[in-house]
Assembly symmetry: C3
Homo-oligomer: 134 residues x 3
């Protein structure tokens, strides 16, 4: 159940094709491979949500700053190396997509990868079976 | 401070009465009882928030997939049995409400129950006193 | 990377200048000092996001209740005293700003400070250098 949430200041909406940005991040997740060469995230469970915050405050508020926060939550059981590799790949993807934005405005991007404490978890899906292994 | 956040792909907005869905989930939370038969969540502190993500990417992106993520955060001190019971009840409620949606489209639902690390917590409310025990 | 997310029931949008509210909370964060008198949060990394939930359910749903949830995530390494002080300062700021709202409607406010498990974290910013120490 990999789960990437992109939370960003609403002033970025004019600067980016956000659906395309989500797709690029999802593709980065799907391309991740572990130490055994296996796909890290199941295709049917991979999703990216992007939410603009209509109200916000950044730094000292004296300029039109923008901010984007990427929070990936992935299940337990993956190695530290895999978490780091996935985190770095996502940040690299975001940086590349945001290059034109960084060139013309003041923006900060932060990414955090969590495993969560998940006291209980469950799911129900008719997407997963479409990508079941043969 | 039970706190349920429903984050979903915006393409679900046409498929569901989301305020009614939130109410049904809140009622499920209010009906939960612990091993001593006591109400698990205080009425005045129970809330459900639902947020559509206007931008998203799911699985391989080749079809109009939908996704819904339910994240319950409940205070520490409840037993593992209570957390599991509440999680299962919420997923069952969601599955039932989403039955017509599952019949006509591709959708995944994931629920996670967390306790959080809560380094500090505080609250201020004029709703709680309305439901104080006599 | 201090990160404050304000999630609130959409029925509060008429009651509050939410951008001003975010600014006041950000200023409270910027004013925080640790035991050595140092600024707790770097100016360039401080941000507040406020998101109205368009759909929600609170308590028994029999009245027009409102709810606001403030979730601060701050990096590890700060003392328990600093976390408590920051949490209390943020709640006091919120309570003061919400005083007129508390006078005329039923509302609950909850604040939680987390450190997260952050398996991996990284950032990229052209805001930080603006506030670099000389």
């Amino acid at each position: 159940m990999p789960h990437l949430v992109v939370l960003y200041t609403g002033n970025l909406d004019r600067d980016l094709d956000m659906n395309g940005f989500c797709r690029t991040l999802a593709d980065t997740m799907l391309q991740a491979r572990d130490e055994q060469g296996e796909q890290v995230f199941p295709t049917g469970g991979t999703r990216v949500f992007a939410l603009p915050a209509p109200y916000f405050a950044v730094a000292d508020g004296k300029r039109d700053y923008a901010f984007m926060y990427l929070n990936l939550r992935m299940g337990r059981g993956r190695s530290e190396g895999v978490r780091k590799q996935v985190g770095e790949a996502l940040l690299a993807t975001a940086q590349q997509a945001l290059t034109p934005v960084f060139e013309r405005r003041l923006i900060g991007v932060t990414l955090q990868v969590d495993q969560g404490d998940e006291s209980f978890g469950a799911k129900h899906s008719n997407i997963h079976p479409l990508f079941a292994k043969g």
